[in-house]
Symmetry: C2
Subunit: 353 residues, 2 copies
């Protein structure tokens, strides 16, 4: 019996769903599964494009939930943000969400209510109504949702379109969620202690993640951005996916990486590489995008994009993607790719140092 | 610790999601969670309405899957039809689907491929592309999807709008899926045998369910239909929901019910009430709808609606919904409501005879 990894199975999906027909003519499919984008895109009458995407979240399976550091409210909130982040990655304005909530027999009314309140709070914060879905029992907790939104026709972002020489940027700090995992499930148990404020910052990367909707809209409307996706599989995976989508490579510079000082502290305590810690399976929900060099300063002048960080630039595909260390030495992009996460994620991150 | 049933928890959802605001103006929410409809509805520019709904299916948890009578291909096919049936219930033309596929570690490549092929075959049959979704591992199999489609603006069906005196109809036979459950998990094991053709008919109600897309479109375009939903919780539950949505009751007549002769045979073998068997938790995916009396014959003249069956009619809410037996005796609508299904569904159906 063969059991492949997720990457191979995504290829099955792409092959099988790559050539399908549609009966409807008023709603024209522009991006389907072939793009492997964060959302599908349809063109609609009235100068609109509709974007739509679905995400499952592990919720009660999160290591920090199992450690008692996340509540049912938190995982409900997370479900909404994870789905809205895909809308942000397309540069769209969210217009609604449907949710699938399936729960095991033992889930109490109080916990169920907290879960739904978390969903409601995040949806209200992003002014995006929950318009339907599915609710009922199951053997395990199931939390999934579909988010959809609109852009001016054709004014959406996608993963393709980067050109050699483009700057590679993110909307902000990378690596807090994986640092939180490494700290709370490993370093703290070994006796290393951060301050209460630092702990709070790490926890909030899971409890109150941010969907960068305003940034996505600003990036799309600027007209300067060539490609974009959200960092939901870690920065290493995101860089690889952006590279593959445009058949090129990226060179990133250690000196410029938007890492938190907390990541360096935790990495030191665990004798780990801070960049590998930050780049591995860290669900940052930052937007990572490419822009032609001359336009970066113009982008930063847009209010939601003041915090944009420059990581590096696109290079020809003939060279492999690489990190330039502060020493000047090149290395492969550090981190653990997203399809190797069947093991404990922290063990994977810390492997091989 | 309090653990309520699904009906109570749906009320929590309705209360919490009943008054939300939306930022987008080009996509106007017409029906959200308050309607408890099969789908949410948005009005769009260009004389279009968009309908969207999400459904989870148990798949590997189906009793017939566990009996070895359904394959991974079958449950993939079922996932698509279950979601398209909600589009049918709104009278819409489907334009796309997103799918969430999460699988346990032990799922082989061959089974995964069969699952995806089942999804692909059903999607192709209904000319509805799979445009995205989420795929990965989890502790249990998770199969969920979101289907969406369009109608001419305002020309969608909903659960509300039945008037006293309206005829209550369905697009066809009720009760085959619950008969299949009762036969394969109970009657056959007790030695009662149907013919090979009868067994095939029962199995196909699970293996190749039908989303009544053409019927839904014809019902919506006729202009005669007052309310509609799909029979995905069993006929008893559907009648109750249609009654509640329009604050009235229904009288149905045993003599007119569109039940299969196989249902009568299996019920007799199990010494059960055939109507209760057919009306309980049977996921028929037929459309159940109401229409003013004068228009029924006109509807039946439309090609996809030739098989429409008349069950009964709407009566004032001051009287309870009832079944008129062939003897002339009234009784409550038989069957087991959908929120009592945590126990083995067949045991519940057969309880209390």
């Amino acid at each position: 019996m063969t059991i492949s990894d997720e990457r191979s199975r995504l290829a099955v999906i792409r092959d099988l769903f790559g050539a399908q027909s549609s009966a409807a003519t008023d709603m024209h499919l522009v991006i389907g599964v072939q793009g492997q984008d964060d959302c599908a895109v349809y063109d609609l009458p009235g100068n609109l494009s509709l974007v739509i995407g679905s995400d499952f979240v592990r919720g009660t399976g999160f290591a920090l939930f199992q450690e008692g550091l996340l509540s049912y409210f938190d995982i409900g909130y997370y479900l909404v943000v994870a789905n809205l982040s895909d809308i942000a990655a397309m540069g769209a304005t969210p217009t609604g969400l449907t949710t699938v909530i399936r729960y095991p027999d033992f889930l109490s009314d109080a916990d169920f209510r907290q879960l739904v309140l978390g969903i409601k709070e995040a949806a209200a914060l992003y002014q995006t109504p929950i318009v339907g879905g599915d609710i009922g029992g199951y053997s395990e907790m199931v939390l999934a949702a579909t988010a959809f939104g609109i852009t001016e026709r054709g004014k959406y972002l996608s993963r393709q379109g980067t050109r050699v020489g483009d700057f590679l940027c993110t909307t902000g700090t990378l690596g807090l969620p994986s640092t939180a995992l490494a700290y709370f499930t490993k370093a703290k148990k070994q006796g290393f202690l951060l301050s209460a404020e630092e702990e709070q910052l790490l926890l909030n990367s899971w409890r109150r993640p941010v969907a960068h909707i305003s940034s996505g809209i600003a990036l799309a409307q600027s007209g300067f951005v060539h490609a974009c996706q959200d960092v939901s599989d870690g920065a290493k995976a995101t860089i690889e996916q952006l590279a593959q989508a445009s058949s090129l490579s990226f060179e990133v510079f250690e000196a410029q990486l938007p890492l938190s000082p907390i990541t360096y502290k935790v990495a030191e305590a665990l004798r780990a590489d801070p960049i590998s810690l930050a780049f591995s399976a860290s669900v940052d929900f930052q937007l990572m995008f490419t822009v032609n060099q001359e336009s970066l300063d113009l982008l930063r002048a847009l209010e939601p994009l003041a915090g944009v960080a420059l990581l590096g630039q696109a290079i020809p595909v003939s060279e492999p993607s690489r990190l330039i260390r502060n020493s000047g030495q090149p290395s492969p992009i550090p981190g653990t790719a997203w399809n190797q996460q069947r093991k404990n994620v922290v063990d994977v991150i810390l492997e091989g140092y």
